[in-house]
């Protein structure tokens, strides 16, 4: 079942923060976050595996709630390079190790 991402789009000024949410109706095995710039390959950001987990590097971090049904991606002090479309990809217990089911994407535009 496809995860639901929100918001669909967001426009920021440089230095502002953003949160992107990814929700599932059932408990997940893992959540993968990707960023894609137009015409380029989606780039892997991080995987979350455990309920309650928080992970991050630089100014991009993510959390996975205790029930493993929701993940949020946090972009702090955004930079122009953060612009792109962010996708969450989920694995559930039935397809763990198989394919990812992607959300609809969140288009992020960071302006000077």
């Amino acid at each position: 079942q496809q995860p639901v991402q929100s918001p669909q789009a967001v426009i920021l000024r440089e230095g502002e923060d953003a949160v992107i949410n990814c929700s599932s109706s059932k408990a997940l095995y893992s959540v993968h976050w990707y960023r894609q710039k137009h015409g380029e390959a989606p780039i892997f950001l991080m995987i979350l595996l455990k309920g309650g987990e928080q992970k991050g590097h630089d100014k991009i971090s993510a959390s996975f709630n205790e029930k493993k049904q929701q993940s949020s991606l946090y972009l702090t002090a955004s930079q122009l390079s953060y612009s792109g479309t962010y996708f969450c990809g989920t694995e559930d217990r039935d397809n763990a190790g198989n394919m990812l089911t992607f959300g609809g994407g969140t288009r992020l535009m960071v302006k000077p």
Binding site: Q2, A41, A96, G97, N98
Partner: protein, 116 residues
């Protein structure tokens, strides 16, 4: 180390014609996935190879689509005959371990297919 490469980057064909997309995964990666993104919609899974075997092809839209991975190296995805609704960006991804979940998948830049 070369990443996942896809050819061509863009293809424009007429309805009813045949197109073959190619994906070269990262060397040594057993898993190869095909995904498709139709404009304005999410990235959808098409199929999964483990080496040369089709692990899961539940996402293939219909029998006009044929994927192969001879020798467990590169893969091709053929659309024959192409229809207008086949337009979109076709992504290939590969990952290393055939049995472990949670393995990072590396994506190619995609092939943009336009059927006119």
């Amino acid at each position: 180390e070369a990443g996942v490469t896809q050819f061509p980057s863009h293809s424009v064909i007429e309805k009813g014609q045949t197109v073959t997309l190619r994906c070269d995964p990262i060397s040594g990666h057993d898993n190869l996935y095909w995904y498709r993104r139709v404009m304005g919609k999410e990235i959808k899974f098409l199929l999964h190879f483990v080496k040369e075997s089709k692990q899961d092809e539940s996402g293939m839209p219909n029998n006009r689509f044929l994927a192969e991975r001879t020798g467990g190296t590169y893969s091709t995805l053929k659309v024959q005959p192409a229809e207008l609704e086949d337009s979109g960006v076709y992504f290939c991804a590969s990952s290393q371990d055939g049995q472990a979940p949670n393995t990072e998948a590396f994506f190619g830049q995609g092939t943009r297919l336009t059927v006119v």
